[in-house]
Symmetry: C2
């Protein structure tokens, strides 16, 4: 379970301080399928980055399975992320010199998954997201939506406990979106992986079991269905 | 008017040749508001890049207002683009070292628009797309949707004859999308600017007067309403 208390993030750039996240408290249990929605600039990416340990809060705490993230040293945090969290970035962040297949296998390699198993899982996932023919192609030769699907496959391949997905369907057509959501729903049911999406996509929101609405860095509403 | 005849683009990368655009012929008149839709990987970006003179066809021709793009030298093409075409990139392509306002003014500066006029237009547009407070902020301090809006403002600011928009609402919430579409519709009506969108967004498709569907680099259907 993820416990978030009084979480804030203030950016002190060159301008007026920006209260990107302004005091969020909530609990997310294992196996949840939740969507974080809100206007552009409302704090979704900042919130997800802190949850994933990619960014430090200004104040407040995040506890994942009784582990307070702030108690981890920097190398312990990297290990913790590698073992528990899969991240799909809003800007994909694929490694340009690696092919699609190598990008998908990258994290599994760090996790010391066997070569045979890495090969099997990456090919299965590239097939599942509809781009098996792009396995040996580099990101700059892929369309926007193809790059997005490689980023998704990469996060799913390592079968982490939690998957944080920042607008994973932004550049996808309806059919690809539906395919992606089916894969994620299945992983959620069969492996009890927790999914937390940030999204503007109505089709993703419709599949979510819980909808957390953020505005100006604060939770405006938090509704569960089913 | 834009006349496209037997347009193809074949990528001969390291793999099997990819027929990204496989023979497209069509005509787009001044003042049209058209959406190009189709699955991820179907050729929309490749098609728009060729229309905008950013990429060379493998075969076929593009004629814009009686100017055959292939007859232009490389520097003539840059000049032609600067004077006629505004482009909103799928990956935004903002200049990292410039602020939002500087990014928006950049093209106007190349067009020798006066300093006073550049200032007025950039501030008006940043206001219109909802991020006036981010004028002096660099792209890496903006959210995904805020970067997208800067990219939109930049293309609109130079008031070109044709605007090619590659998935301009992918990272935007409903309200920002609606605002953007209103601005574009108004420019289309008042200034007779031609808009050609590539999009997966149903809200954009609903506003389009013409819907061109692409699949595997070919036109599958081309329907006008009104
Ligand atoms: N530089 C390149 N080298 C090789 N293949 C390429 C290159 N650029 C694009 N492609 C391929 O051409 C096809 C069409 O790509 P394009 O980017 O035009 O698709 P798209 O319709 O814009 O997709 P999306 O909706 O995902 O943005 C894809 O299969 C893509 O992998
Ligand atoms: N490094 C930074 N420095 C300063 N301000 C920042 C930085 N990163 C983000 N911001 C600001 O924090 C606020 C929240 O940004 P965030 O990226 O979390 O929004 P978002 O909800 O993900 O938006 P979108 O839907 O457009 O992706 C925005 O106003 C943004 O400009
Ligand atoms: Mg974001
Ligand atoms: Mg594209």
């Amino acid at each position: 379970v993820i416990k978030i208390k009084d979480l804030t993030k203030v950016y002190n750039g060159s301008q007026v301080p920006v209260h990107a996240v302004n005091g969020i408290s909530l609990e997310i249990k294992q196996g949840e399928f939740a969507a974080v929605v809100g206007p552009s600039g409302s704090g979704k990416t900042t919130f997800l980055n802190m949850l994933g340990g990619l960014d430090d809060p200004t104040s407040g705490s995040i506890e994942i399975d009784n582990q307070l993230l702030s108690n981890l040293t920097s190398s312990q945090r990297i290990k913790f992320r590698l073992e528990n969290i899969g991240f799909i970035f809003q800007a994909y962040n694929l490694i340009p010199v690696l092919t699609a297949k190598e990008n998908v296998e990258f994290i599994m390699e760090l996790q010391k998954v066997s070569k045979a198993e890495r090969n099997k899982r990456s090919l299965e996932l590239l097939e599942a997201v509809g781009i098996p023919d792009k396995a040996n192609v580099r990101p700059n030769q892929l369309s926007g939506g193809q790059q997005q699907r490689v980023a998704v496959a990469r996060a799913l391949a390592s079968k982490p406990k939690f998957i944080l997905a920042d607008e994973p369907t932004a550049n996808l057509d309806s059919k690809s979106t539906e395919t992606l959501l089916d894969i994620m729903e299945r992983l959620n049911k069969e492996e009890n992986i927790t999914f937390i999406f940030s999204t503007h996509d109505a089709r993703v929101v419709n599949k979510a079991h819980r909808i957390i609405t953020i505005e100006d860095g604060l939770i405006k509403s938090d509704e569960s269905r089913i």
